[in-house]
Subunit: 242 residues, 2 copies
């Protein structure tokens, strides 16, 4: 990481964001951010609830293809870690202990991804999830210093980058909000914590037949094909909280 003055960078970049008119501009902008801040990579990565991915950034094409091809999204500790966290996180603090994760890391570094990174999770109303990541190759102290100085900028960039990305791709918000009835929420919530149908029915003091009506109705609303699917979608969309 070469030393680069970042004074005013955020203003220049946000001005660029304001005038962006297409995904290509965002792509160019990620490169711009990378250069303004003197780091190796800047990436905006959208992870869709059906496994679709999309994004832009400075990773090499080879790495992006490999990532998709190997379905790394399933084991990438950055994704997994951010997915269960509220706050931005430094990569070093993620869990790299599994074999799959270590293999992934080696592969990533081989493809030009830096060993240091900082990723900001961004969430939408119905479980939509995206990541804004910056990364670099340097030692821990240098990176900690960089983050210390630029954390705020990165958070603001993540916000505005995401907003612009959504403006440009309005169909990225396909999961319409589903309103489950209170009983449907009860039913799915109890199922999600492991109750069997019989247990749920007795907990809610209704017959199992009635319970099934709720589950079916919730299933239809959620576009789910079975109970497990319905619970999964309800959780993803925040329709139930366990």
């Amino acid at each position: 990481m070469g030393y680069v003055s970042t004074i005013g960078s955020i203003d220049r970049v946000l001005a660029g964001l304001d005038s962006a008119e297409g995904i290509d501009d965002l792509q160019a902008l990620s490169e711009r951010i990378r250069d303004e801040y003197g780091i190796t990579n800047v990436v905006y990565h959208w992870v869709n609830s059906n496994g679709d991915q999309y994004g832009c950034g400075t990773y090499s094409e080879a790495w992006v293809l490999r990532y998709l091809e190997r379905k790394y999204v399933r084991i990438d500790p950055v994704i997994l870690g951010c997915y269960q966290r509220f706050h931005p996180v430094e990569w070093k603090r993620l869990d790299w202990s599994s074999r799959a994760a270590r293999g992934f890391l080696a592969d990533a570094i081989e493809h030009g991804v830096g060993n240091q990174g900082y990723s900001i999770p961004i969430r939408g109303p119905n479980g939509q999830f995206a990541l804004f990541t910056c990364n670099d190759s340097c030692d821990d102290a240098t990176w900690a210093d960089f983050i210390e100085r630029n954390r705020r900028d990165m958070i603001l960039l993540a916000h505005d980058f995401n907003r612009k990305a959504l403006d440009l791709e309005p169909d990225r918000t396909p999961d319409r909000a589903v309103t489950l009835s209170p009983r449907e929420v009860d039913a799915l919530t109890l199922l999600a914590v492991g109750y069997s149908r019989a247990q749920v029915a007795s907990t809610l003091s209704i017959s199992e037949h009635t319970l099934r009506v709720y589950i079916e109705s919730a299933r239809h609303k959620l576009g789910a094909v079975n109970t497990t699917h319905a619970v999964a979608r309800a959780l993803q969309r925040g329709a139930i909280v366990v």
Copy 2:
């Protein structure tokens, strides 16, 4: 809204956040933010889907009690609007057309809530939801100018306020990750998108018996009592991404 210089405010406030050690400090800090920025109210409000609420801020005690007592969370257009939005929003742009909303607004203003507001939605891994709000009584142009100048500060404050609030209330954060094997991840992931066991087995090109071993093993790791439970916990912990 009296004119107040906000230069350096963010630094002073964030320093205060760093040293906060309890919910009382956050309460004091919300007052501090209010004064630094010269507005009427600053509020951090955690909303649980089961109706639980929690937060701190400068609203009068009378208003908070009334809000809870009347279960305003169900009709508050700020909550409703932010719940389905990605980005911070000015109150004027929300939907105040329903009668309930207008009644609510009148009641709010009567209790010292400003007519102008800016609320930032904050989301967690499993639909957790909180709001960081600043509001004031002034005309549209004055408020637009205030937001224009302080939008970035508010976003950063929302982030850090939320982080601190979660630090101080660790039970609101999710459980630690479990490391599932790649096959277990495959199995649960496909189950989560609605596949039956037979479909999963054939998709993974393994026998259904083998598949069951993975599901069982994942269940044990996750401390789940059945498949649906296992999928739910895996999702919550970010062990799988669907």
